[in-house]
Subunit: 661 residues, 2 copies
Amino acid sequence: MTREGVVEAGARHAGTPGGGASLVRPGAGSIGRLTPLGAEQVRISGGFWGERQATNRARTIPHGFDRLQATGTLGNLRLAAGMGGKYAALTDSSGAQFPFLDTDVYKWLEAVGWELGHGADPEMAAMADEAIAIIAGAQRDDGYINSFVQVLGGGAPFKDLEWGHELYCIGHLIQAAIAWQRTLGDGRLLEIAMRAADAVNLALGPRGRDGIDGHPEIEMALVELWRETGERRYLTLATRQIELRGRGLLGEGRFGPAYWQDHMPVREAPTVAGHAVRQLYLDAGAVDVAVATGDRPLLAAVIRRWTDMVATRAYVTGGLGSRHRDEAFGDPYELPPDRAYAETCAAIASVMLSWRLLLATGEARFADQIERTAFNGLLSGLSLDGTHFFYVNPLQRRSSRSATTHGDGARQPWYPCACCPPNLMRFLASWEQYLATADDAGIQVHQYATSGIEATVRGGTVRLAVETEYPWSGRVVVRVLDAPGAEWALSLRVPPGSTASTVAVNDGTATRADRVARLDRSWVAGDTVTLDLALQATVTPSDRRIDATRGCVVLERGPIVYAIETADLSSGTHVEDGEVNPGVTPVPEPRDDLAPAMVGLALPGVVHRPGSPSAEALPLRAIPYYAWANRRADAMRVWIPATTRSARDRDGGPGDPGVPD
Amino acid sequence: MTREGVVEAGARHAGTPGGGASLVRPGAGSIGRLTPLGAEQVRISGGFWGERQATNRARTIPHGFDRLQATGTLGNLRLAAGMGGKYAALTDSSGAQFPFLDTDVYKWLEAVGWELGHGADPEMAAMADEAIAIIAGAQRDDGYINSFVQVLGGGAPFKDLEWGHELYCIGHLIQAAIAWQRTLGDGRLLEIAMRAADAVNLALGPRGRDGIDGHPEIEMALVELWRETGERRYLTLATRQIELRGRGLLGEGRFGPAYWQDHMPVREAPTVAGHAVRQLYLDAGAVDVAVATGDRPLLAAVIRRWTDMVATRAYVTGGLGSRHRDEAFGDPYELPPDRAYAETCAAIASVMLSWRLLLATGEARFADQIERTAFNGLLSGLSLDGTHFFYVNPLQRRSSRSATTHGDGARQPWYPCACCPPNLMRFLASWEQYLATADDAGIQVHQYATSGIEATVRGGTVRLAVETEYPWSGRVVVRVLDAPGAEWALSLRVPPGSTASTVAVNDGTATRADRVARLDRSWVAGDTVTLDLALQATVTPSDRRIDATRGCVVLERGPIVYAIETADLSSGTHVEDGEVNPGVTPVPEPRDDLAPAMVGLALPGVVHRPGSPSAEALPLRAIPYYAWANRRADAMRVWIPATTRSARDRDGGPGDPGVPD
């Protein structure tokens, strides 16, 4: 491809076909409650998320292309395309080669697709053109594409559905293709993706054999492909994948059938189980199928699982997955902060699932969970500079952790299994699509960012400008730039927990805003809504059912979960030393040393020095959890021990007979 | 072999050569402090451990042979011997085949060796003769033996030192051989073992290449082989294995070099690290080498690691290993009760290490840890009926654990990786050897069991009879049956924590006994010592540095750690419901329903019912931790939440805004 080809691709954006360049665009006959607004309808222009998107575009995505080249991941596809080279076999902890590396390229391409929609970037487009040409070259005449199978696996497709990730790879290819088609009207990847999906359909569709992928993902991609193309076979194939699951096709595997959600049919399983990302991608696909086919019992099953998951298996950061061994959900209330797995991809998958449930039901609780996850357990996966990542997102790292602890140290520029970094890229590049929706009544704003919103309401165009310093400040100002003559409702979500939030229209009286502020009005250009979200700093004890954090408190302010880390402690003091009286009120303080406008918390703590009879004062400074490990990688904790009135369990030192462990 | 051959083997016992059929028999020039007493010098005749040994002999060992046959493990060696059959490839969680199954046969044979020393058993001996004949047939002319390499691996030895476990297997073969030689004077296995060790020496000895096994074990076996045969090359090879470790020969592996203790030289590593069983076997071998070669710095390094391990990484049960993923030690104070790995083999290995350190130093703390481990985290691996096992020994299992939690459910009759069951067999069959030692001054009794003890002291024979209902009763009566004329010291360990223990000689006044009661006297036959160990039931808060059990208490009485389990709760009540006031005193109560003479604890607890404003009384009954999961396998917990005076962290129910997780 030439530079001209690139510019042309960028130019295509102006001619985007109707329908909206959105995630989860509803298809005909859908039962969904809300309509998403696409990337051309919502545009983030500044503030917290503007900075994160700008960093993603300027630094993270170019860094990703560099890594795809340096690690050989792109080279593997090049090799499959007959362009020469040597296969870069990255391996898992058992020494087995990763068969799913192609997806890193696809997720990166999806991110580029959304980003080019934000504005042309010839350099980035050139990188993408190179990757697309390689993918086109790698695809076989029969539509099949998988560099691992083609180069190392002998070429016979769909022989290892349990571990081969072939459908998973094609799912990500489809999602990239849809981003390019919707945003840019560029159908190069879509043609490749359709042919690949047809290869799957031939082997495993209604006329093929019964088979499902060990790693769900293709289900939601296939529904989206149906939405995009109108070709019903893709929806049928997605439905078939959902319905065949839970019938033992995958066998026991390494970790039992629940690991890949094959222990019970998708519409019957009462709780989430097994590998967190697999469960969440599966349930996202199940919602898509349910909404597309009007299958309310299937939708209800997913909502039951989500409700139980958030109540019993989710970290305060929104992180999901309590176990390292099988990257899995734990038992209810099994939420160790130190050994949390809380994979970045699981946080992203959780947002994807919650978003689908929000569209399907309109219920604010799904947007609440998106917010908690996005600001905490998801963003923690990305360094402030945009080029270092966490795969695992624990809520605690000890000062005394030894050099012998492997694999959960500092942020890394990439991972041998690099699923998370490009997943972050595509998430951030499309974040504006999670902010607002429309329905017959009007517009709903679910997440707050400085942005422009445009939608068709009551037959006319609504244009809004949102300005906010959220999450650092609670004030959100929505200005109406254009509105049709008719009355319509502007609905603003009020995050839970704050009882002092208010909303005012123009110069009117501020009234209490609770959960959702719905303002029905014949809006006119120039109207202004001022939403003041109360952002009290809170100190909240852990739920008594969670053994691993019993007797501890968490600091929060607005949607932000806080943590203390070594860099903010005086020399000789460790994060393990501090205790906090649950009755104190933390004081917000600027943390421009970490990022512009960032708000930290200062609060009094106490420390019990070994051998000292009484506690000493220990001032503590907490920073947003997502921002930890951006200075020297050292100790951190989210849950801080609460001071107790009883001295009984406190002053035993090492060797004390009262200290059995 | 014929039945006659078996009887002959049993008969050989009478003619055991001098030196004692003991574990860790000291060699010439050793620097050890205490001399072990062998199986022919200490004999358990009843009480708690008498019952456990009888069950091992009558049920567990025969069950083991049945399982070795049924799983194909013995058949694999038969196949290597050219006797036909099909290889039974058991696999690990990544689908890789286990290469170390031969050790199950060797450990079982070691158990039989010690047991035949306790008394002839033609049926058991016939099983062993069959296994020994198969092993003899499987050994190659060059001395090498490993059914996996010979049958599946192409026959080239020592090609996969990282994961092949070949030296590990030969180490267990050597240990079995020594049991048979020392106990029965039966050298059949010893000849095989020496030839196998010579094959290792040829490949990896001083004239071979530099190479160490990914799984330490052979080091201590080689030292013992030197002690038994006097052949110095085995000690040299053991020393070489210790010295080559920590120099990167094994590479990064799946989990980093600390996983197999190859991150730092053995004499430098400051703390235990990585896979717990590997570390503990390695350090046991390092002590053996240090004692045999007079290498005090090496001994000091192991003691440093042991001391730190017991202070920061050991469970109250003595269990070791905090992580499932790599079966590894955690960071300091990382001791989750629910996700404890605490492998049965690690508990056994810990006893083996502590025993060597006790012999080397004479310090009671090592015997303390042996006792804590043996009565709790080790015995928990074996069902009361002797035929079901735990591989993993958590300190908590939740009521609400779902059917989707894989692999840590009920006790199993065997495991695909069956390292633990035959390890328990050999441990119990040789437990009498851990009870007492001798030195120039006299006899030291470290563990209490109804038993006979015989040793040579001051040139004469001492014979003692010990009677006790320990651990259920604290009274231990030691009668002198024979004694030389000279004065010598009887030393009795007093477990830590009890300040009210007393000791009395004959009709003398009872005096306070603290840590070690040393009684110097010209003992005569008929003298009686009465040791009264105080066994107060205690309620002890968790060390405040352990995050995972903060705010909880543990119940103990004497050496026994207690647990509550579902079977003792009224219907509708769960082990998660109970809280305990740290000020209560539990009341001992008989638990003959579980085992004769067993003592449980009864204590008042409270429960907070959802929606109820105040706590209700909840009587709790605790049983010895090791005896859990012998009724229906359900929930259990060792650490019980303590009641707190603050109502703040207590009455939030589900959905309460104060409950973030």
